[in-house]
């Protein structure tokens, strides 16, 4: 089971959180072609290794935030706020 450090409440069990999937997806301009739109809507990095993702502390403060998590070991390498960029080393 994951133990996740909410930036506002501290470290809690996985069951208090909801994973919102890949972070930092940028919505393209409406005029882009179907390939670009599919890329935005459906295609995902699904990284094997360190993945940047959004989580919400649903059964806590209700805040969204980012984590950088290894999808093989499940180790959480960094936690950062919604408005922050990922740590340089993990980009």
């Amino acid at each position: 089971m994951l133990r996740i450090s909410c930036p506002y409440c501290g470290t809690r069990d996985e069951v208090e959180f909801h994973c919102g999937g890949e972070a930092h997806i940028v919505r393209p301009e409406p005029a882009v072609n179907d390939r670009e739109w599919a890329n935005y809507l459906f295609h995902r990095k699904n990284t094997k290794g360190i993945h940047l993702e959004r989580w919400c502390h649903v059964f806590g403060c209700g805040q969204w935030f980012h984590i950088a998590r290894d999808t093989v070991t499940h180790e959480v390498h960094a936690v950062y706020e919604m408005t922050e960029s990922p740590p340089e080393l993990l980009r």
Binding site: H18, D34, N39, H43, R44, N46, T47, K48, T71, H74
Partner: protein, 414 residues
């Protein structure tokens, strides 16, 4: 291939079982093949078998970074059914079910296919309406399904508690659905493919794809380069990784799906019992174990292990429906990495790279599709044109918008 029969069993029993031979070769890796298939699971092996048997292509290698059938082929809950809503899914999965019905005979290997029916429960009036719509759609697709009342359900499954936290108000059954022995399916296809000249190369990991002018020419492995006219990958949870090697993106999320079994008990569960609302399915294996599963751990994982909270949810759901199972102990629990697509329909066929084919996005339901997946992929590879049954399952549907949003795909809620 030496055929198995009752006579061969008796002969070997009288001979003290000393003359059984390994059921596939361990060949040396050649420098070149007509077709290289990456992933020696059910789909890779069945594709190789049908390519060799139906299309006369025998210079084939099936590579696996681990051992044959050691991924999701040996980690699933063994269910085969075709109770799908959309016509394309129904046609494809019923083709698979029909191939399962004759599989033991076809590959001369007892896969222990047992058509005991899948019973899907409804727990509210609204769900009952939706279940009626689903069951009727299945009949319109030409597949058997039967609506059942609570008293029918009690008769089929006497241990069920109809007055549970979410009362059972009805449901439907597809009687032709069944379970089989998953290892036997992988081993049987491996043996039959091997007998048709296919080289199965275990412990050989694909590390890169050689692509020249948009066309695949070979595979780099940890045991050297292999040149190939055509390459297919069928790697379940690692589909994104292989697509990445080929330079294209896929709409897949890899998640750990858990399953578990109890200690073995006498026969007491007649069907595969499934519920969308409480997100649980269970059946009893021929060894007597209660096999159960439910939802995936809801975040990306390549770890082949799941978390305890999901185990607790699955077990709690089963005990609410069948309280008698509360005295059972769990013997084993495990996870496989499933490659889930946005519309829960697989992604099969050609890729943006010429002569490179993919069979992925099987999500939580790949086992039931093994025979049809292999049959249709073999056709697709041999003719460089998608088999009609999978023509709508291509990667391009995410650009055209022609999704097949199959809520019935995993038989549980999405």
């Amino acid at each position: 291939m030496k055929g198995y029969s009752t006579l061969s069993l008796i002969r070997n029993a009288l001979g003290g079982h000393k003359s059984w031979r390994p059921i596939w070769r361990t060949p040396d890796l050649k420098k070149s093949y007509d077709v290289v298939i990456i992933g020696a699971g059910g789909h890779g092996l069945s594709t190789a078998y049908y390519l060799a048997k139906k299309h006369g292509i025998q210079n084939i290698a099936v590579l696996d970074k681990g051992f044959l059938g050691g991924g999701n082929s040996g980690r699933n809950t063994q269910v085969t059914r075709s109770n799908y809503f959309w016509p394309q899914s129904a046609a494809f999965f019923d083709h698979s079910l029909r191939l399962y019905e004759n599989l033991g005979h076809d590959i001369n290997f007892n896969v222990m296919f047992s058509q005991r029916g899948v019973l899907t429960l409804a727990h509210s009036h609204h769900e009952l309406e939706m279940v009626r719509r689903w069951a009727n759609a299945i009949r319109i697709n030409g597949i058997d399904s039967e609506l059942v009342s609570p008293s029918d359900i009690k008769e089929i499954e006497p241990l069920i508690n109809l007055e549970s936290r979410f009362p059972v108000l009805g449901g439907f059954i597809q009687r032709r659905a069944g379970i089989s022995r998953h290892d036997a399916v992988a081993w049987g296809y491996a043996r039959a493919a091997d007998a048709n000249g296919v080289d199965i190369i275990q412990q050989c990991e694909a590390t890169a794809l050689n692509i020249e002018n948009g066309k695949v020419t070979g595979v780099e492995t940890d045991r050297g380069r292999i040149s190939a006219h055509k390459v297919c990958f069928a790697v379940a949870g690692h589909t994104t990784v292989l697509a990445g090697m080929a330079g294209f993106r896929v709409p897949i999320t890899s998640m750990a799906l858990q399953a578990m079994v109890s200690e073995p008990i006498k026969p007491c569960l007649a069907t595969m019992l499934s519920s969308n609302v409480i997100h649980m399915y269970a059946s009893q294996s021929d060894r007597g174990e209660i096999v159960l599963g439910g939802g995936a751990d809801a975040y990306i994982s390549y770890a082949q292990r799941g978390g305890i909270p999901v185990v607790e949810e699955n077990v709690a759901a089963l005990l609410e429906l069948v309280p008698a199972f509360s005295s059972l102990r769990l013997n084993r629990q495990w996870a496989g990495i499933t490659d889930i697509t946005p519309d829960t329909t697989p992604i099969m066929g050609k890729t943006p790279v010429q002569n490179l084919y993919m069979s992925g996005g099987w999500g939580t339901g790949g086992y039931k599709a093994i025979p049809a997946g292999g049959d249709t992929m073999a056709h697709t590879i041999a003719h460089d044109e998608p088999h009609p049954l999978i023509a709508d399952f291509g990667l391009d549907r995410f650009e055209t918008g022609a999704l097949i949003d199959e809520g019935a795909a995993s038989g549980v809620a999405h």
